[in-house]
Symmetry: C2
Subunit: 452 residues, 2 copies
């Protein structure tokens, strides 16, 4: 068995490490940290650092490969964050995307009217938990801005609160220009914004976030089988990126919790340290969206069945993955604190190689070896993301790579010049193997690309 | 010589096709079209369709590969679009990122005070070009929004007007967490927003756009050589993606046109149908940005030289590529209307294979062959973006692939079953070659990956 194959990298169901440890490791190692940190941060906004951006890009590339590249029946698009405001009237967001809020006249805090038991004590009224509350008022969660420069043509616009609406408004143009026939899908990865009342749980609930969504348009007679197909596909995806089977589940929505546009919905939940939470949703949206946009735009979006000449509005099955949430699941799932013989603790991120931000670290044993180490580094960089580190003792350098989840360390030592070999250390087993330089690429390829 | 090597794909200096033809081809074929098109569009916002997103993703991936992956001295990040508002005070955008504007009381139009000769006639005053103008007033180009939900904590914030500032505010965190030493760079690809008075020239000047920026931090004594190094690197990049040598140039800024933060600047210009225009800038920003953020944040961003113990603020060389502008240059450069023998005109996009949205089209001669064609399609999709098309006559299908710049068409015919061969047609020469199925992958690989 190949030591580095995916199966040997898949994690057993370990106890999860506490969130505060993960958050501080993420900042210290440059995965994810507060936006505008030197100005004290800005609540609900996060920056991905050098390791975080590679993790997120790997996830997005795997999604695009699976959902777009490998399929003749799905095409990708990339639309603007600011869309025509009528879009959000048609979708119902202008009228309905709001929470009922109440203010406390004493402590000036604002609470969701339906979650008042979360509100805690009123800080202005010592010893009392009684707030002095206003009437509930709807608070729209969309971020608004003004565009246009003419004195008479400035208009309000919104930052999209979800990426999917432009997949509906673009349906006709995309179908016609890409010569797709029903059934087919349109997919997109991009940012969306919501003015969340209480951003929380690190990047789980933030005000700026990324979604990877796909809308699949099908004939009404086939909607149930496509819903089931995509439910199974999307659950499998989360297994394939390495999430522990015991921490992911499908959770169907009860009929009383379905959104107004949905006929059926099933979540992919992950068991975070803060509980089971949705990282993806698969929704049967019926003909709600195309019908609404037909009504608001006056443009016909219905189709004619080529065989029966029957006119119909396609039904839509949506798959909607939270990119940041899935990154957080990958981080939570990977982080392990292992007790070694002798009692030492080793912190190790057990990422599957396909999502690991850095695939290989190149570590010369001494700065005197940097010339040949740089050559190896340059060669490996053509194919993988590589980290080069030449300072500090080798044991500490290994541990730093364990902490960021690098599957393989390549150590260049004083014998490398003579025997043309390097030492390759595997992250999970810590086993070391002497590998000939001219076989290094193949050695790593076999282990890193297995199952991807 | 390999028929599909980059050199044979590089375009001679042809006359450019007019912009209106490019714009309508982009919409018809699904490269790029107006955002929210069914609602009449929204001025200054564009959507990338199935072909456009692949073109743009190819460009961004090539940039990331060259600027981040291949270099031990540059790391990537991905930061939020909404940053702390102090960022834009420090950068000077709150006070200075504005144009002096005047309104016409009669026709209600707004004009830049320094460009009044662009304003044309006043539409409310027939036969007269005289406007009834107000005093000039500064009009900030940043898009503003309100975030935060507490009654007492709602704050104004801006959508970033450029992606680079978070590379400065994150400088210390990124340097420490990624163990980088001066000189090193931080790179990012992402969206930015400007409320342009007059969006124009298709995606050249829009209100939502994408930048690929890198800030390189170096010791003051090395700034001149790094400026020259990056100038040459970035010019070479635009050659490498296939832009015609005769249509790109470096243009150094005169001292009187330098931005307030810049000590030296050189543009990479492309000769569009609407003239020579900047697609990338390389700037010596000196210590302006780190000094400003030190002043506004109170956080020390200066360094101590390890050898001399001297304290210094690193100097910054910036490379800033407009992603949409470079996509537009690629489209303009590729589009050709070729007169064939017999007088027919063939529209062909002569993209270099590495940027072409679709690498291979799979075309069964008849729907009866779709089973074996789908098998070939599925195999090729593992590696490349593939388009599958089984309807219409084969000549028209070839022309459609020419129009979107697909380098190779693979035709499956009735002999394929017997001789296990397919016909491969090359876009530029229209030459056809019979290729064994078991050598198809290697045949295409040799031609598509040459020079990349």
């Amino acid at each position: 068995m190949v030591a580095g194959s995916d199966s040997s990298f898949s994690s057993a169901t370990r106890p999860l490490v506490a969130m505060d440890k993960l958050v501080s490791l993420c900042a210290a190692r440059g995965f994810i940290f507060a936006s505008s940190e030197i100005y004290g941060g800005i609540n609900g906004f996060w920056d991905y650092g050098p390791l975080g951006v590679e993790l997120k890009n790997n996830l997005k590339a795997l999604w695009w490969q699976r959902m777009v590249r490998e399929r003749p029946d799905v095409v990708g698009i990339d639309t603007s964050i600011v869309a025509h405001p009528r879009t959000w009237e048609a979708s119902g967001h202008v009228d309905n995307f709001s929470d009922p809020m109440v203010d406390c006249r004493a402590c000036k805090k604002r609470f969701r009217a339906d979650q008042l038991d979360d509100a805690g004590k009123c800080s202005s009224r010592e010893g009392s938990s009684e707030h002095d509350l206003t009437e509930a008022k709807n608070f729209n969660l969309m971020l608004e801005t003004q565009i246009g420069a003419s004195a008479d043509a400035t208009q309000s616009a919104y930052l999209r609160p979800e990426t999917c609406q432009s997949l509906f408004t673009g349906f006709k143009r995309v179908r016609e220009s890409s010569r797709q026939k029903i059934p087919f899908g349109i997919a997109q990865v991009g940012k969306a914004f919501r003015n969340e009342i209480t951003p929380r749980n690190f990047i789980f609930r933030s005000r700026e976030f990324e979604q990877a969504e796909m809308e699949f348009f099908c004939h009404p007679s086939e909607r149930d089988e496509w819903f089931e197909y995509w439910r199974a596909q999307r659950l499998q995806f989360h297994r394939d990126i390495g999430l522990n089977e015991g921490r992911i589940r499908n959770r169907p929505h009860e009929s009383d919790e379905l959104a107004h546009y949905a006929n059926a919905a099933v979540d992919v939940d992950y068991e975070f340290p803060f509980g089971w939470q949705e990282i993806e949703g698969v929704h049967d949206r019926g003909d709600w969206d195309l019908s609404q946009h037909t009504k608001f735009s006056g443009k016909e979006l219905a189709m004619t069945d080529e065989a029966t000449k029957e006119k119909y509005t396609p039904m839509v099955i949506e798959t909607s993955m939270g990119v940041d949430r899935t990154c957080l699941a990958l981080l939570c799932d990977a982080l392990d604190e292992e007790t070694l013989e002798g009692g030492d603790t080793r912190t190790v991120m057990r990422f599957a190689p396909k999502v690991a931000p850095v695939k290989v670290a190149v570590l010369p044993l001494s700065k005197k070896l940097s010339e040949s180490a740089h050559k190896i580094d340059a060669e490996l960089r053509k194919r993988w993301n590589v980290f080069y580190d030449e300072s500090g003792n080798i044991g500490r350098r290994y541990r730093r790579q364990d902490e960021v989840g690098t599957p393989y360390c390549v150590t260049v030592d004083f014998e490398t010049e003579d025997d043309k070999k390097v030492t390759v250390r595997e992250r999970d087993t810590m086993d070391q193997e002497r590998v000939p330089l001219d076989g290094l690429d193949a050695y790593l390829h076999e282990r890193l690309e297995a199952g991807s």
